[in-house]
Point group: C3
Chain length 396, copies 3
């Protein structure tokens, strides 16, 4: 149980952080404790990230993608997905400008016919100079790939990768979990996506969403932490993350006043609480248990594309017993939840991240922000990410 | 009489400047005397600027504006206009992305419900955490506002503002002055607007304007200064400015030759001279007396928005005796002068400023320009602005 | 015979370069030998460049052009073409924003009427101040111009220019050469144009072009050099260039294999070899003898406009005996070769240069490229350009 040890170790720091959050003078010293996180504008290196859905990658159609600023070409060969750097070593042009593949497991540069093997990146032929001295002696980067839960994960890093299970939330790889989802590009830095998702008081922005008007879910204006131990810091082995138990450690706020004017959340006769636990995991994955309905878990990835864009993954998972239940669940997601929740709720989040972008990426949000007590969850996430990431991604 | 003292004090320098202007070697040393002006790409801080017309601000519709790079929200409360910084202290997002006002004199951030009072900027409520420790202890900036002559002025600066009368041309606040005008965004630095307006020889660009073809105004190709004392330097108390008496101290040029080819101004049988006096005032306001017709005065503001754009204000003023005369004058401006002069003459100026922009903002115009004698007026304005401004605006 | 001396002098270096090209470790030291070339992102100063075709310049219509980042106005006066800087010395605005010419050999600035002579750049009049002290004492830059072969060449540099013949390929100025061509803007640095054109193995990109499907030309996948002396380095007197004798010193590759899969060039029953010799000359001009057909020579200029764009000139030349043969040839180019070759072949080159642009101008292509043996031609061109250019152009 990593949680137990870590909680006692972190509690002292939490008091310090809490003092910081309640103090209007906004001590910059405390912010230094998450400096590595501030440097990770392109994400953390040496982690696994989802690249595309399995169904995005049809046989014999190589597909270019960009993750953490790195371009690559994915291709399914004999059922297995391979990934190779999208750049010829010769003149450094992208293969993706005009993809040429003459054999099943090679890619040929459109410019001078330099041909690389998809499995190891080795230069295997040069069509314009068959006897080229460089053949077999040089190559380009290939990427470890793993396909599971209908998603294709790529390891962006150097050397041998850790198990995929180290980089996804607990439970995500369970065999009895059925999944279905969507992905889309959002015009904000990936950290603003991760923070907005984990932020327990950002729910204020959702109060007029389609989801609130369609379902019987009850959503407060905010959630106020009651307990210094409300968060569990999970330091491994296994995935590293921060778990926030919304149901047991927070008091919901259903009404507030401004100069005696009341602002209230939408109340419903038989409304039910949703999202009993929210957690975030390295390298930047959210898990919301009991959302959008009690038996479903929502997983979200915020995968850096560039410093100013990320790929937003929204995947719903449900424990099932039989294969036909899985199909029924996927159908339910496609026909109902995609409209009502994945768009009808999370579109607000996409909007908020893009509205945050200028203040943080163009402006000085990281240094001038003035956090408040409920932002404790962000602070813990930043500290965890700063302590346990495996590298800071830099443009090469 | 500030003019008398200042004229004698400045006359020596004027001789030095005149030598500079007549010398093709273009001594860079003289240019150093207006270096503060060169740094003011975002304008001068601690001055009053017009933000919007009174009629732009309807009750209960808060309005975002940007002046000197600072975003703010204006709102009319109980008839009085208030202005508050357009940025939440918490995550530094702009309120204007989605304006929320639950009470008459507060603004609430769309993200987490941080609520600020419009009068003093204090944080008065946090809808997502009613007991937030920061309430009452922190706030955001509010701006002094004054409404007069149908315009809403905002003080961009720190501490207590001076009287508005210090920052507008003499006569503009007179009770018997009726005013009417327009404003528009121009894609050039504000200083190119101010300089083009005060430049006595730029009138060359207007010779084929609609104004010239519609009215009986007589406009020379240029105006040549005859007298070293042609300009009056007004150093206060009251507004600081440079006054150029066109009618008495200049000789108009109605024809010039190039290799014996004559280029002439448009001559008219009963043409009348216009614009007997042009003056410019800190923080960047032009007054043209006797323009577009003898009994009218044109006022122009060039308010910095960003380093590359400014809000161009064109306001015509006329002394009136009765309220109904004011209404008649405003109607005349709207039905005639707006088309014939404010657009039919000044559109040339807008074009010229935008054509100047690259050379000065992208290029090295400020250091490589080669001024000539009639640019004495620009030199005096730059020196005055450098000496009497109250601060250089910098992006925060 | 400059070729003889230079070949012996260069052969040693060629061995060194060849070792570099065959070595996957890619010694950065060798790259230092062409560092001046790497700095010439705006081209080489003090050389002649084509500006426009003769037919582009109609009498009395001054025409603005930009070469090597410098704006100028061309005008035909009494049959002779003159060129003057496109920037008034006063406020540094471009004349081209609104061209005003009152006499045949002057240009007047639209802003204050500063008037310059087209022949020597002198300030000859100021319309707004006829007695201006600066008249006759200052001026702006004019450019040496030469018109030949239906093209207007401008010398971008300082001081007296060399003969035009120093800066064009041998034979281009021959009186019995008839020429016809087109020009267009390409979105890449000029060097990527020059290198793509001189590159003997880039022909791989043309294998499916309209030219290949329309003519009986035979085009291999690549050309492999057989001989260290394959290139002739021409160091003057006269133009400096590198000559690559394709017909005699290369072995064509008509088929290659990847893991036993054959990739082949398009074979034709009576196909004929084309392009028996390719050469490149300072400041960046290609000559392809025997292309697009045996009796024609193609000349190409890659004239820098900005760091990211160049003007691509494609001119076909043919030796003729009678004036009517010249007209017939020009007609043949317009009606046939322009479609089949200048576009039907070279459009691939334009595409390739633009696909190269990001890797070199935004990325680190110049330092990280990994050249192979056939790139010997590029290395020799870079070395020659680095050694014999007359200056590196910088933005002023």
């Amino acid at each position: 149980m990593p949680g137990e040890n870590s909680n006692s170790a972190v509690s002292l720091e939490q008091r310090e952080v809490e003092a910081f959050l309640d103090d209007p003078s906004n001590n910059q010293h405390v912010k230094q404790s998450w400096r590595p996180y501030l440097e990770a504008s392109l994400g953390f290196r040496n982690h696994w990230y989802p690249a595309v859905f399995s169904h995005d990658l049809n046989r014999d159609e190589p597909m270019p993608v960009k993750l953490l600023g790195e371009g690559m070409i994915l291709r399914r060969v004999d059922g297995q997905v391979l990934a190779i750097e999208d750049r010829c070593a010769h003149r450094r042009v992208p293969f993706s400008a005009k993809v040429e593949c003459y054999t099943e497991d090679t890619i040929t540069c459109w410019y001078h016919g330099f041909t690389y093997n998809f499995r190891d990146g080795k230069l295997v032929a040069v069509l314009t100079e068959p006897g080229c001295a460089l053949i077999g002696k040089m190559g380009i980067k290939t990427y470890p790939v793993q396909e599971i839960q209908g998603m294709i994960f790529v390891f962006i890093g150097d050397g041998a990768p850790p198990r995929l299970g180290e980089d996804v939330p607990p439970g995500f790889l369970d065999e009895d979990l059925a999944t279905e989802g969507i992905r889309r590009t959002v015009k904000s830095n990936w950290r603003l996506g991760a923070e907005n998702g984990f932020d327990t008081t950002h729910i204020y922005i959702h109060r007029n969403s389609k989801f609130m008007n369609t379902t019987d879910a009850l959503l407060p204006l905010g959630l106020v932490p009651t307990n210094k131990q409300s968060m569990e810091i999970v330091k491994g082995p296994g995935p590293k993350g921060v778990v926030d138990k919304l149901a047991s450690n927070y008091v919901p706020v259903f009404a507030s006043t401004i100069d005696n004017v009341t602002v209230a959340a939408k109340m419903k006769p038989n409304g039910q609480a949703v999202a009993y636990s929210v957690s975030i995991w390295l390298p930047g994955v959210l898990r919301v248990e009991g959302f959008p309905s009690p038996e479903i878990t929502q997983f979200e990835w915020y995968v850096p594309i560039s410093e100013k864009t990320h790929m937003y993954w929204q995947v719903l998972g449900k424990k099932i017993n039989h294969a036909e239940d899985a199909a029924a669940f996927r159908s339910e997601v496609k026909s109902y939840w995609e409209d009502v929740a994945l768009r009808g709720f999370n579109d607000d989040d996409v909007w908020a991240r893009e509205a945050l972008e200028d203040a943080y990426t163009e402006g000085d949000g990281w240094t001038k922000e003035r956090l408040f007590k409920p932002d404790m969850c962000l602070v813990e996430w930043r500290k965890l990410a700063s302590a346990y990431h495996r590298g800071i991604q830099k443009l090469t």
